[in-house]
């Protein structure tokens, strides 16, 4: 049953299984286990980023193409919902409309970019996506009538999801059952479903063709698979899932702005997550996103303590300054690419094989 849900592609390592089960239960029971606003924010962000990173893994890990435009599709989803909700009445119909419009836009854009640039080398695609994504970010900050510019859009969510809504008068197991509770489980459930769907895709015949293209595109073409078409399809699929992740994130934050969706820093974050977790494994997305988001929120506290303890030593306190946490993850990233190309998941699986 469980293996069916996982499309027959299990974790294949005991430690990895334990980690994934722990992450799953921590996220599934987050409102009960970690009361408070900040931990729940972290949990929701983990859910969204697991999905976002998994959809990126479809491109990077399974198809072997580097796109720098993934945040653009993430942003399109966020802005789609935000614009629909702030212009029309804040109901489910607007959510559906905004999501649908965002999906169509993402599909058209990813199709055009793919068709236009995937014929040539991987490098060419990376450069084109970088240019297009930066153009889109500028566009979003300049069209302030539509997008709210640098300030972004704060919007109202449907009645059911509003923080003030109470479904049960009394708290259940010490947790208030209200709008935030429902929103969290909406985000969690949708992310889980889409993650399982992605797992299904990469383990389908289509996914195998993608792997073949990653390993040797010349040979795949010779076997009769049109690589351009498969790459473009993967690009579109990744873009659509990223758009949905953007929708979920916007619904959780009740806000969409350049800093939460389109910023190039988020693109870098996604790259770090997928590479550290493990490219081409899907589970790497779950591990990478969890580690990264938790580090982002809690590593800084640890570094503050470390930096304080080193006061007086030259340079060291600066290197361990709380704002420099990305430095250490960057070093980890570079080392991962050299020594563990399949990241944490790859290491654990290799260990299990011995």
């Amino acid at each position: 049953m469980i293996m069916n849900l996982l499309s027959g592609d299990g974790p294949r390592s005991r430690i990895l299984t334990a980690l994934l089960v722990a992450i799953f239960f921590a996220l599934a029971l987050a409102p009960f286990l970690f009361p408070g606003t900040r931990p729940l924010d972290v949990a929701a962000k983990v859910c969204v980023f697991v999905l976002l990173v998994a959809s990126y893994d479809l491109l990077l890990g399974y198809t072997g193409i580097v796109s720098f435009a993934h945040t653009m599709f993430f942003g399109i989803g966020g802005y789609g919902v935000a614009i629909a909700m702030s212009r029309l009445e804040a109901g489910w119909a607007s959510v559906a409309l905004g999501t649908a419009a965002a999906l169509v836009l993402s599909l058209v854009l990813s199709f055009l970019i793919g068709l236009f640039s995937l014929r040539v080398k991987a490098i060419f695609f990376a450069m084109i996506t970088l240019a297009v994504a930066s153009f889109f970010a500028i566009l979003a900050s300049q069209l302030s009538d539509l997008t709210g510019g640098e300030d972004g859009i704060t919007f109202k969510v449907p009645e059911l999801l509003r923080p003030a809504t109470r479904l049960l008068a009394e708290p259940f197991l010490g947790v208030a059952i209200g709008g935030r509770f429902v929103t969290y489980y909406l985000v969690f459930g949708a992310s889980l479903l889409l993650f399982l769907a992605l797992l299904r895709v990469v383990n389908s015949p289509f996914g195998r063709v993608l792997l073949a293209i990653r390993e040797n595109d010349f040979r795949a073409e010779a076997l009769g698979y049109r690589t351009v078409i498969y790459r473009t399809l993967a690009n579109c699929l990744g873009a659509l899932v990223a758009t949905l992740a953007g929708v979920l994130y916007a619904l959780w934050l009740r806000y969409t702005g350049p800093n939460t969706t389109l910023d190039f820093a988020i693109m870098i974050d996604i790259l770090l997550m997928v590479v550290i977790g493990g490219m081409g494994t899907m589970y790497g997305a779950a591990i990478g996103a969890t580690i990264f988001v938790v580090a982002q929120n809690y590593l800084q506290d640890a570094m503050k303590a470390l930096s304080g303890a080193m006061q007086g030593v030259p340079l060291l306190p600066d290197l361990f300054h709380p704002d420099r946490w990305l430095l250490w993850l960057g070093v980890l990233f570079v080392l991962s690419v050299y020594y563990f190309p399949f990241g944490i998941v790859g290491q654990l699986r290799a260990k299990a094989k011995k």
Binding site: A122, L271, V275, H321, L326, L327, L329, G330, Y338
Partner: protein
């Protein structure tokens, strides 16, 4: 036999400039815009020429190239601060005595850093495109953070020396002095590069390597060594460009390089990956169009670069000057 030069792209540049003159109508505005466009284009050319050669020669695309631009700007800012006496004086020669060392320091440090970067980061991943993109991006993340460690996270002011500010007035035409300097330096770099590539043995080997590196290797030349040299030179030029760009903007942030990278990519795609002449034509094209469109219709200006790239690629899918590869 030497093939003739393809005159269509330069003719296109001229046509765009003349067309803009007709649309703008006012010759003095047009001169100001053209000089600004040339200055911007030549600065971009200085920064991107190394990248395109490195790609042509070794099939290596360095996504961390912007790092050298940022380093150049930061080093220039620090040097100018050290030489603040000369930089603050009212005499042109004293100012030059501050700006030249600043540029030299930027070139040296960026070049040295390029050498280290090639050895440590890029050397282990030759021939693996995916890893190259990932590893150079990772190198950029680490380096940006290190810049924060050494120079602090805040915006660094980079004041231009007094005599390099302001404009020359010729009739009613205003030409900013610093832009003129950028044009002169840019043309000098381009001329030196053409001389090196077309008139020396090293240049001959580089050009041959871009076309067919196996053959050059088969003739007994070490293309690896040549490549390291080109990489270091490209990094040094990026440092020079960064120093000039920083002085032009009068401030430096760590994102200066990453912001330029987008323009640089557009330029080398427009020019044709690996082609130095294409890089020059593409850079001038981007600079001119950005300034003309910015004046004529500011709304479209944001997308003008992307639009330009799409149009050029529709016309010549391999760029303005495609490099023939075996």
């Amino acid at each position: 036999m030497k093939p003739g030069i393809d005159w269509i792209p330069p003719a296109l540049l001229l046509a765009i400039a003349l067309g803009a003159l007709a649309m703008i109508g006012n010759p003095s505005t047009w001169v100001t815009l053209t000089v600004a466009g040339l200055a911007m284009g030549l600065l971009i050319f200085i920064m991107s020429s190394g990248l395109t050669l490195v790609f042509g020669l070794m099939d290596v695309m360095n996504f961390a190239h912007g790092l050298f631009i940022a380093i150049g700007a930061y080093v220039a800012a620090s040097t100018l601060k050290l030489l603040s006496a000369a930089a603050g004086s009212q005499s042109f020669l004293a100012n030059l005595g501050a700006v030249l060392p600043a540029m030299l320091a930027a070139v040296l440090i960026a070049g040295l850093l390029g050498l280290a970067f090639e050895r440590v980061i890029i050397k282990p991943v030759y021939g693996q495109h995916l890893k190259q993109i990932l590893i150079t991006t990772g190198g950029m993340i680490v380096a940006e953070q290190l810049i924060h460690v050494f120079w602090g996270p805040d915006l660094l002011p980079l004041p231009r020396p007094a005599t390099l500010r302001g404009s020359f007035l010729i009739g009613d035409m205003a030409i900013e002095k610093f832009r003129l300097i950028a044009v002169i330096v840019g043309l000098a770099v381009f001329a030196a590069m053409l001389l090196l590539l077309n008139r020396t043995k090293i240049g001959l080997l580089i050009r041959a390597g871009v076309e067919n590196k196996e053959m050059v290797e088969a003739m007994g030349y070490r293309i690896r060594r040549l490549f390291v040299g080109v990489f270091v030179a490209g990094s040094a030029l990026a440092g020079l460009g960064g120093a000039l760009w920083g002085m032009y903007q009068e401030s430096v942030t760590v994102h200066i390089g990453a912001n330029m990278m987008v323009l640089i990519f557009i330029v080398i795609i427009i020019g044709g990956l690996g082609s130095i002449g294409g890089c020059f034509a593409g850079a001038v094209l981007v600079g001119l169009v950005a300034n003309y469109v910015g004046y004529l219709s500011p709304k479209i200006a944001l997308g003008s670069n992307i639009l330009l790239m799409v149009l050029v690629l529709l016309w010549r899918p391999q760029g303005l000057y495609p490099v023939s590869k075996q």
